[in-house]
Subunit: 130 residues, 2 copies
DNA sequence: CCTTGCCTTGACGCTGACGACAAGGTTTAG
DNA sequence: CTAAACCTTGTCGTCAGCGTCAAGGCAAGG
C-alpha cells in the first residue's frame, strides 16, 4: 500500500502521514524507487492516532498506544504506559472541566449583572427596550 | 504615566501593552520625545483586558468591553455588544463543556477496558501484578 | 514522445499572545 | 563625561498539527 492509498483509507492527507513518520509514529518500508510502502497494520495505527488526537491527546501522548499496538495487542490502551497516559489525561480533563465550570459561572454572573444595568449609559444607544 | 509604570501597575509587560496598542485596544498619547503617556483610565482598561483574556476571550472579543469602559461605564460588560459577546462565549463554553464531558466519559471507559485486559501481552512485561 | 498521475524532499504559512533580542535615542544622577 | 535606566521601532521565535506550494523523479498509457 502506497501513501496515497493509506491516506484515503485512513481519511487523512499524505502530508499528515509524512508528519507522523517524521515524529516517529509510523514506519513504512521503502520500495526500490524510494516510495513509502505500508502494510495493513499501519492502517490500524493511523486510525488509533487520529482517534486519540480527536480526543485531545498530543502526538507525544500517542506514542505508547502505538507501541502497544505494534506489540501485538488488539487495542492500544491495554499497556501500562498507555494506562499512565490515560490516567494523566483524565486528570487533566477533570482539572480543565473544573476551571471551565468556574468560567461558566463567572460568565453567567457577568451576564446577569450586565442585564441588571441595561438602562445605564452606553455608546450610541438611543432606543429603549420594550 | 509612562509605559513601564503602567506595565508594573497592571502586572504585565511593556511588550504586552505595545501589543494591545498595535491591535487598537489601548491608545496612549505621546510626549514631545515620542514616549507613550497613559492616563489613569487606561489602567482600568488594561485590567479589563487581562481579566477577559484569562477567562478565555480573544483580543477581538475584548474590544466591545474596552469601548464600553471608554464610553464612561463603570464596568465594561453593561453594553449591548459586550452582552452579545458574553452570550456567545457562554454558549461556546457550554458546548465545550459538553464535548469535554463526553471525552472524560470515553477516557474512563478506555481505562476500565484497559484494566480489564491487564493480563494480556504487553511489550517487555514480565512481572505479574499481585 | 508526451501527458497524466503517482511519488519524493524541502521549505514557508498559519493561529494568538506575547517573549526575547537588536540597535539606538533621551534623560537624569553622579 | 559617562553610566544607568528609561524609552523607541523592528524582527524573529514559540507551540501543534498540519496546509500549501515548489521543483523534480518515476511509471504507464496513447
Amino acid at each position: 500500500m502506497l501513501i496515497g492509498e493509506l491516506a484515503e483509507r485512513a481519511g487523512t492527507s499524505t502530508r499528515t502521514l509524512r508528519y507522523y513518520e517524521a515524529h516517529g509514529l509510523v514506519r513504512p518500508q521503502r520500495s526500490a524507487n524510494g516510495y513509502r510502502v505500508y502494510d495493513e497494520a499501519e492502517l490500524r495505527v493511523v486510525q488509533e492516532i487520529r482517534a486519540l488526537l480527536d480526543v485531545g491527546f498530543g502526538l507525544d501522548d500517542v506514542r505508547p498506544f502505538v507501541a502497544c499496538l505494534r506489540a501485538g495487542n488488539a487495542s492500544g490502551d491495554v499497556c501500562p504506559d498507555s494506562v499512565l497516559v490515560l490516567r494523566r489525561k483524565l486528570a487533566e480533563v477533570d482539572d480543565y472541566l473544573g476551571r471551565l465550570t468556574a468560567v461558566r459561572q463567572q460568565l453567567r454572573t457577568q451576564l446577569t449583572h450586565a442585564i441588571a444595568h441595561r438602562e445605564e449609559t452606553c455608546p450610541r444607544r438611543r432606543q429603549s427596550a420594550p
